[in-house]
């Protein structure tokens, strides 16, 4: 994302976010008829705290601790040859084999769909899961690939110069979703 962004408005407060995550956890359990064979997989960076929160919520209601995977999609990006210096690779970790499991990919924001495309390719290199579902906290449109989420926290229509920023207590000190808007700078595009 080029340019400088400044906060414009708050889309979700901490209380709202907690309720939304609770509902998403319920939907995941409901659509799968329970928790049998489920594994949550968070996409780095902010998909990981979302997956942790969903797992905690499911553990509270279902009294089952779901396995929690972490996926780093850097090596599967389609823009590595164009973005300049390579992004830092932090690595993936899936605690159990994916064969015949239902995987729930978790990410904070669904935007172009390219991250999810990369995540699907990465997951399939670990084996053949039975189903892969997608859970996102915020869907803000502007899709560039035919990808949709199965479980969505909230949908927000944004303009080209706006982005959605999700913060989690575990990683950022507070739960919050904000809309950021690009501000004009003299120097033009700086990264």
């Amino acid at each position: 994302m080029q340019g400088k962004f400044e906060p414009h408005s708050t889309l979700m407060s901490d209380a709202q976010m907690r309720r939304v995550i609770r509902r998403m956890a319920g939907e995941i359990v409901e659509r799968n008829g329970g928790v049998e064979g489920l594994m949550l997989v968070g996409i780095r960076t902010r998909g990981v705290p979302l997956a942790e929160r969903l797992a905690a919520e499911i553990e509270r209601t279902e009294e089952v601790k779901l396995p929690l995977g972490i996926l780093d999609i850097t090596l599967y990006r389609d823009d590595l040859s164009t973005i300049g210096p390579q992004p830092v690779v932090k690595g993936s970790h899936l605690p159990e084999p994916v064969e015949d499991r239902t995987l729930v990919l978790c990410d904070d924001v669904l935007y172009t769909g390219r991250t999810v495309r990369a995540a699907l390719d990465a997951l399939l290199d670990y084996g053949r899961p039975r189903t892969v579902e997608l859970a996102v906290l915020m869907d803000h449109g502007h899709r560039e690939l035919p990808i949709q989420a199965d479980v969505v926290g909230s949908v927000v229509q944004t303009a080209e110069e706006e982005v959605v920023e999700v913060a989690f207590e575990a990683t950022d000190g507070a739960d919050r979703v904000r809309l950021l808007r690009r501000v004009a700078t003299d120097s033009g595009a700086e990264s």
Partner: protein, 310 residues
Amino acid sequence: MSWARKDLLGIAELSPEEIGLILDTAESFREVAERPIKKVPTLRGRTVINLFFEASTRTRSSFEIAEKRLSADSMNFSASSSALVKGESLIDTAMNLQAMSPDLIVIRHGFPGAPHLLARHLPAGIINAGDGAHEHPTQALLDAATIRRHKGKIEGLKVSIIGDIEHSRVVRSNIHLLTKMGAEVTVAGPYTLMPPGIEALGARVSYSLDEALDGADVVMMLRIQLERQGRMRVPSVKEYFKLFGLQAQHLARANKDVIVMHPGPMNRGVEISSEVADGPYSVILEQVENGVAVRMAVLYLLSGAQGESR
């Protein structure tokens, strides 16, 4: 921090942060080797040429596996099977290779500075896989990766490198790397295999195996380059083993959780006994394993920096 260099020519010019970035990236790449499908699409469509003017099995196959696991297309040129034996100059060979538009060239050459020459003339990124007795940066990096995994850090460790110091590029790259990262390095070997002025690189010099082992956290044994011993720098292999060969009883002097390393290929019964090489302190095979991850990291980082400097 991000990687900005087009080439990896040596450790001497790297900052501790750059070394740390390579090691951290390598740590992430280790996981690829544990998957059912040991391949990621990261360097799809990139071409890497492995240009080996000196015999090498381990380093070349390690680079090759790293390239394949990153989905790069790789090609091997070795001195015995190409125009190199027909009198072509290094620059001409390189220009011809460049005409095939490789993204990266991995080069090993008997002359120090050969990779640097290529780096100046070619837009492709150059990786030094050993130039004479000068540097072998990916070996030092994989050694560091191995040390870090066992000790959790490099700073403050006592590292002793023992053997043929004069002919070793591994030792030069390792002294640079380990001192930059805050380790205390001792090199030891017979007078006849100790190059004058090596202490200028920041290492302490010793001529006694026992002294070098005292309190060491890491012991790196170097190969006695038997093929170079036409000049007979040691009276006999037997005598060398008696004076500088690492045997189990010597390790009592070292730190109790010492690790023993060797860049390979090993001469058992010359610089190291089988008992030590196969013993509980040996991490020699882990070095090989880390070699692939480190080379993947270097290929990955350099391939991102290329577009920038062109």
